[in-house]
Subunit: 157 residues, 3 copies
């Protein structure tokens, strides 16, 4: 059976990073019925490099574009965890929920533009199955100083 | 069939704002089985006016009462999205979860009083079916500078 | 029938605090199908004392160890609410999701070490059934000035 969504990833010139394994008493994914829960994924690339900082240049942080790139990385890590849990991305029925946490100072208000980096990736790879509900909020700080963290609930088939 | 909960809204002198449509690659609502997921709704009224600012006058923000009004607006937007998704509020079986994000400075600790504005609205309109589990947390900042953002999971029938 | 997990709590020298009842228009727990939703629980002990403050001594806050102790308290409150809802902890099939909010200044990046206090407690008491997905984020402030707040979704049997 062709791996439709992984072919799509390749066509987009993207590669899934290895699915990070937690080093503590929790797990990256759990399936309950047709729901797949995925732990919060930070903006870390395949080499382990973290896109860090608060988003918003007015406060000395990274740009919105860099923040969107960080969110895209989170989304790739979400997909990587989904593949590790399901065997294939083709078992994704629908991405139901993304919660996007953006490291922000008090004056930053463009969290949606940042999380669009993740939303766009989901739809680019999964089409309508990637079209999710979401929340985008600005938090004080994130693990490893990451710019973005995203967790997910996915319906599987 | 009478629209019980919309009649209740009218009796309370309330009106649902139009359900905001995202302008990005995500959707306001998704149904999976009997669960309705609703994207984070910010404190924006029917005219598009956003109740903005951090809550807490000690830090130069808006009052707790203004914050509770903002949370009430979020709840109306949640109901508006639920109606758009379900056709009628009468298909709400139970509001299962509200997550309430309150724009806060480090010293603010009355997030529950703020989110009560949403909880009270839910119960005023839906009775026991509006009685939900919730979290109330203080975040650094929110989209459009909004004072409050609330997302929801609702059981439908 | 023996209460396996409560025996485990006793063996660990732990006691469940009384399940706090909300004083507002929401509920501590709701069951929908096999999912148990638990409202956000703050770091408050059986005597009502709140472990307060932001975590991170570099910013004048409490230590990571104190933060982890606060997270452990949140986890005990989650279990207390689960027991009140289910009658017995033995009805827990799997802790599916913990969302951990840590009161943090902008420079704090060790939220995972803080939330480990909750994760370790869950696994110590429930074994593999306590092994959950989670998110750990740093927020501006929490109700009652609490250091940590954690909400949960649990699969029941």
């Amino acid at each position: 059976m062709p791996e439709i969504y992984e072919a799509k990833l390749i066509a987009l010139g993207l590669e899934l990073p290895p699915a990070p394994q937690p080093v503590a008493n929790y797990v990256p994914t759990l399936i309950s019925g047709d729901l797949l829960f995925i732990s919060g994924q930070v903006s870390k690339d395949a080499t382990g490099h973290v896109i860090a900082g608060h988003v918003g240049i007015a406060c000395g942080g990274i740009t919105v574009e860099q923040g969107a790139q960080a969110a895209k990385l989170c989304a790739l890590n979400v997909l990587s965890q989904a593949k590790a849990a399901l065997g294939s991305l083709d078992r994704i029925e629908q991405v139901l929920r993304l919660t996007g946490f953006v490291a922000s100072h008090a004056d930053f208000r463009d969290q949606p533009m940042v999380i669009n980096g993740a939303s766009d990736l989901m739809v680019a790879v999964l089409g309508d199955r990637g079209r999710h509900t979401r929340s985008a909020v600005g938090v004080a700080s994130l693990p490893m100083g990451a710019a973005v963290e995203i967790d997910a609930i996915i319906k599987v088939r």
